[in-house]
Amino acid sequence: MSRLVDWARRSSPWLLHFNSGSCNGCDIEILAALMPRFDLERFGALLKGSPRHADVLVCTGPVTRQQAPRLRRIYEQMPEPKFVMVVGTCGSTGGVFRGCYNAAEGIDTVIPVDVYVPGCPARPEAIALGAVKLLEKLKNAQKQARGEK
């Protein structure tokens, strides 16, 4: 039974896209990753509107001060188990916004992050690879939890 649930979790990552103050470059690339050429739906990914329905929070941007509480609230609204994927250099480290008076330095200063996809903007191939990496990481974690190698 738990194997079935693990398999289901690996097979249908539903995305919620959140922009925490990015320049919108990476957001366009995320949409490109969902479009015909790369089509993340082949892994079962669907773009969802409500945080209550999503499994993976796909974030961009360095988290401006105004967005930080909202990002945290959206993260808390998602039901467990949930994962966070950061797209773009500025989301990973602050990038071009590093040292700005009004922005934190990356998503991981606000919420825990599972996968980083660097690039300014990140290419859609890289985003697809990031999604695969996330699923692999999940698979390994599930194996470890079951005590297998």
Binding site: L4, V5, W7, A8, R9, S11, S12, M35, P36, D39, E41, R42, F43, G44, K48, G49, S50, R52, H53, D55, Q77, P79, E80, P81
Partner: protein, 349 residues
């Protein structure tokens, strides 16, 4: 006696009842998603099972295993109850649809009216679901859903009643049997227009894309479903799929000749008799034809979904009250006049 009861329970629970219907909805969702992706030049689900065929099942299991959040402000009892009821009601209605046989699992005189009544109950459940979550987006979504479902309920009902008037019966089995003799209703004059109207009204009833105003995600997050998570959302999704199966099944039953296949064509009487003589063969044969016809209806709906973009609210209301309702009233009148004035047109069987 005991065996009868046992067989009856088996029919309701396993085949062609609850388990079979749920499995069928997963299959139809896969067909729908795959074809939709194909129309958009994408791949669609690919790696879960053969060509992604297990994707809807994986989605369902995943949602069942997820955390189930009930917001503090929500009306707890109603919030928990509506998803379960919204699965139970279409399942009950599906038991009346003939799948493996000419008669459904349940059947009585005038059951068509009861099935149509159940579709209205689904609309009320949707309004209750949105209202009970006490979220602004949900309330607006529920209000829109009410506006939309109530508006399109009238043309839907009238369209479903047109073949009933032609067959002079409100019993689903009788309508199917009539079509076996007189040909599919889609080939008979006013009811082919009724078929078109029926398919068009299915879109707002199922909240599919040109009419997905209640869950317009660019405005309302996810409409009346916004607050539902985990198990409850799994049930709501299942309920929507069951409604799709119910709508497609009703279209097949009323307009496309139900589970009958090619054996009713003139000249194939020998085949017909051979099928009716063997119960296993007839079950397989009828189920296969029902599946094919339902899949065709679903593909039509998917095509419409991929073709159009969302309508405005005023266009949606106008579509129901200015065009479809008068059209359907006109067609009802024409059917009645024809069947009274031209005695041989709709043969009595």
């Amino acid at each position: 006696m005991v065996l009868d009861i046992f067989l009856g329970i088996l029919q309701i629970v396993l085949f062609p009842g609850i388990v079979f219907c749920i499995g069928l909805t997963f299959l139809l969702e896969w067909i729908d998603r795959k074809y939709y992706a194909d129309l958009q030049n994408r791949m669609g689900p690919l790696y879960v099972g053969w060509r992604g065929i297990l994707q809807p099942f994986a989605d369902f299991i995943k949602l069942m295993a997820k955390e189930d959040i009930t917001p503090k402000a929500a009306d707890r009892r109603l919030f928990t109850a509506t998803p379960f009821f919204s699965v139970a009601v279409p399942l009950l209605a599906l038991l009346f649809i003939p799948i493996t046989n000419v008669t459904g699992v349940l059947s009585f005189q005038g059951d068509l009216i009861f099935v149509l009544f159940l579709t209205t109950v689904i609309a009320i459940l949707i309004i209750l679901a949105g209202y009970s979550s006490m979220n602004r987006y949900s309330s607006i979504g529920a209000a829109r859903a009410g506006l939309q479902l109530m508006g399109y309920e009238i043309p839907l009902t009238l369209a479903a009643l047109t073949p009933a008037m032609i067959a002079r019966s409100l019993t689903i089995t009788e309508i199917v049997k009539y079509q076996a003799v007189a040909g599919m209703s889609i080939l008979i004059f006013p009811s082919m227009i009724a078929f078109g109207v029926f398919i068009i009204t299915l879109l707002p009833e199922l909240e599919k894309i040109p009419m997905d105003i209640p869950e317009a995600e660019t405005e309302l997050v996810a409409g009346w479903q916004t607050e539902f998570s985990g198990k409850k959302y799994a049930f709501l999704r299942l309920s929507n799929n069951l409604e799709l199966l119910l709508g497609a099944g009703l279209a097949v039953t009323l307009f496309l000749g139900g589970p009958y296949g090619i054996e009713k064509l003139p000249g194939l009487t020998a085949l017909d008799l051979a099928i009716q003589a063997n119960i296993v063969l007839s079950t397989v044969w009828y189920t296969a034809w029902f599946l094919i016809k339902t899949a065709i209806v679903v593909l039509i709906i998917t095509n419409l979904r991929a073709l159009f973009s969302r309508y405005r609210i005023d266009q949606m209301v106008r579509g129901a009250w200015k065009y479809l309702t008068p059209l359907m009233i006109g067609i009802t009148a024409i059917t009645m006049l024809l069947s009274a004035a031209v005695p041989g047109l709709y043969p009595i069987v």
